[in-house]
């Protein structure tokens, strides 16, 4: 029998621009781990951590295996450290690995964290380009934003979504990021400002694309017994899952996040969710480009295909709506490399614990959903369903 596992602590550092970052990778990591330990309190220390699940993409750090030279993991006790690298979903994958290990009985208390510090890389897009299939896409210069535009233009073609729709969902994120002390871009851009911002890769405008941020996020996960001893607000992990698509782009038609839809079905079935809009109280969706959030609404079953822009216009996914999404500002406002996919889980946990700052707390949130996206052309998705008793 799988053991029950809960998230009991969340730690964040301040987030800033990678170009302005002065903290070293280990410093960032140590700060987030310390913050998470302090969040748990009750005398929990590094000595009690039995394993470390670290999410990164080597090349974004400009070095190979950055985990090896980190000095903040409790390695003074030879704590096992697992380095998980699945691209943008590495945080979601590390979360899943940590969950499996604890549920299987290998460890009782573990941490899952990401602490990217992209100061060593001159241009991340050049590096990301090497993740593309080498014969066609790579020489074309494909980078992250190009991957996004395929999905968004197809969505506009299929469902008649407009540039204003993308701007509206972006504005919702920017509005809430202002009140999130852990967000990087806290400017509160309006729909008008977003639509006036430069077009960088059709149909994505500057304020609809994420920044390159620097900062770390750490989660502490524990078995039922330890969770009850260490926390009054344990957030139980009800289901986790990931899904993979083809590597080659020729097989894709970019008509929505079809693999995510498949994964959502599987994960919902595991926990008995039939009507996600009604049964989920809060969701964090990985949206490095604002429009992703809308494609995910469709795939996650929040609405019928193509009706996602309506949810935003009606405020269904805003604070006070039926299912608030990305009240942290999402990945759009803070994309700290691989930590961003850990952050999605952390922000959902804080909402469920009732500890979200800045007037963004969703009342009586009991069930949450965390998502991450990554790999070449969005090859991978992960999902986690989290819940309070």
């Amino acid at each position: 029998m799988a053991r029950k596992v809960a998230v009991i602590g969340v730690g964040n550092t301040e987030y800033t621009s990678a170009k302005k970052e002065t903290r070293e990778r280990s410093e960032l990591g140590a700060a987030s781990v310390r913050a998470a330990l302090e969040h748990v309190g009750r005398g929990l220390s590094l000595k009690d951590i039995e394993a470390v699940y670290f999410a990164t993409v080597n090349s974004f750090e400009g070095i190979q295996r950055p985990d090896r030279s980190m000095e903040c993991l409790g390695q003074a006790f030879a704590t096992p450290s697992y380095m998980i690298n699945t691209g943008g979903t590495a945080g979601g994958s590390a979360f899943k690995e940590a969950y499996h290990a604890v549920a299987a009985g290998f460890y009782d208390v573990v941490i899952c964290y990401g602490s990217p510090n992209m100061t060593a890389t001159v241009e991340g897009q050049q590096i990301l380009n090497s993740a593309s299939p080498p014969l066609i896409e790579k020489p074309c210069g494909a980078g992250a934003i190009h991957m996004a535009t395929y999905y968004l233009t197809r969505y506009m073609y299929d469902h008649g979504a407009t540039e204003e729709d993308w701007a509206m969902v972006a504005a919702k994120c920017h509005k809430h990021a202002v009140n999130n002390p852990y967000a990087h871009i806290r400017k509160g851009y309006t729909v008008k400002e977003i639509l006036e911002s430069p077009m960088i890769c059709y149909p994505i405008r500057l304020y609809e694309a994420c920044p390159v941020s620097s900062g770390a996020c750490c989660l502490i996960m524990a078995t039922e017994e330890k969770a009850k001893e260490l926390s009054d607000t344990p957030v139980w992990i009800r289901a986790v899952g990931s899904i993979s698509d083809t590597f080659l782009v020729g097989y894709k038609n970019f008509a929505g996040f079809t693999k995510l839809a498949k994964l959502a079905k599987k994960v919902y079935a595991e926990v008995g969710i039939n009507n996600p809009l009604k049964e989920i109280d809060y969701a964090e969706i990985f949206n490095p480009f604002a429009g992703f959030e809308l494609l995910a609404y469709d795939a996650l079953g929040f609405c019928k295909d193509g009706q996602a822009p309506g949810l935003v216009r009606e405020g269904v996914t805003d604070l006070g709506g039926k299912l608030p999404v990305n009240l942290s500002g999402g990945t759009l406002c803070t994309n700290s490399g691989i930590a961003a996919s850990v952050t999605r889980h952390g922000d959902v946990c804080l909402q469920l614990m009732g500890q979200t700052e800045g007037g963004r707390q969703v009342e009586n949130a009991r069930v949450g959903l965390a998502h991450s996206w990554g790999g070449n052309m969005g090859q991978f998705h992960t999902l986690a369903v989290l819940a309070r008793d």
Binding site: M1, A2, R3, A51, V52, V57, N58, S59, F60, G62, I63, Q64, R65, P66, D67, R68, S69, M70, E71, L73, Q75, A76, A78, T79, P80, S81, Y82, M83, I84, N85, T86, G87, S93, K96, E97, Y99, H100, A101, A103, A104, G105, F106, A120, L128, S130, A131, P134, V240, S242, I243, S244, D245, T246, F247, K259, K262, G375, N376, Q379, F380
Partner: protein, 386 residues
Amino acid sequence: MGKKVGIVSYGIMEYGDHGAIRKWADEATFIVARQALDKVGLNRDDLDVVVISTMDAFDGITISNGLLVPAAGAYAKESVRIENSGIHCVMSGMASILSDSADIVIVASADTVKTDFGYVTNSNQDQFFRGPLGFNAYQSYGLLSMDYMRRSGATENDFALAASRNYQNGKTNPFGHVKKAYSTEDIMASPMVSWPLRELEIGRPSYGASAIILASEEKAKQLTDEPIWLTGIGAATNNYSGNWSELSELRAMKKACTKAYSMAGIKNPKDELDFIEVLNVFSPFELMAYEALGICKEGKGVNMLRDGKTLIDGDIPVNPSGGAMCTNAYNSGGIYRTIQSIKCLNNDNGGTKVKNARRCLLHDSDIGIGAVGGDSHAVLIMEKGR
């Protein structure tokens, strides 16, 4: 833990020099994954999870699992990639099964890309102290070996002898890379690479691919008559910085062993294990490992070697496959040696045989990319029957 996990099948390519492989990483991965599935009559749809054991730097691209997971059958399925070592990936597969998240898991890995090894292993050092000094894996092997000479009295000749025993074991291994039984004299005559290590005392890079399939107890019994049970596993990671004795005492490996032994109920490893496979990228490491594994007292590893205790017909045979001296694959080495051990347990390894072997220990690590600090170790106990 009431449930059990077993290995039910494997796929393997013959390892060789870079020029001999002539495959892309996904092609090689596909070949071994297909082989493993076919052997037990499974098809892709039967897999629940795909785990890939590679490092981006040895695949030459970033997020290289993107290229590899579909080749191992992950389309529309769960997948993950862990970079520490093959046994870390086995542990991930076990966790998926033991947590009721999966029934059948494939772990696959390939080495096909030739890299500038000195450069790559310099880039995993910290960027402030060791990195700028040009420190790379070869120097780290040398420093650790030197330290071992100091504290154990081992000589350059001992290191050559340790290497030659591996070459001797590996020469008839049909899937291995180096199949030449170099003598101690040959080894002593090879060029010095990083004192006190000579060229033939360091595993040369090998290329090939390997895959194994793990299954829950119930599925394993349906799929094969001779599953290999995974009865103990442990992992640990060394501190990156510290004083020399801290860095050379293999604390992480000891911790990993303790965990695996306690899970498998092993009290006296020397008597209770039938053979051991150790990742010996540089030959002296094997002697240090004897001590960490608890098959001899501290500082006495070299005596085990001199007394022939670890010979194939000795008290506790080590590296019947020829170890990393003969086949040193940075991505797939752990899975390769898992398969070698299974073949040895099943007595169908075609090479050096161990009589009546029923239980063995397998060690894997990322020590190949740097030996003094930051290295992770994992230990797996495998048993036949029961």
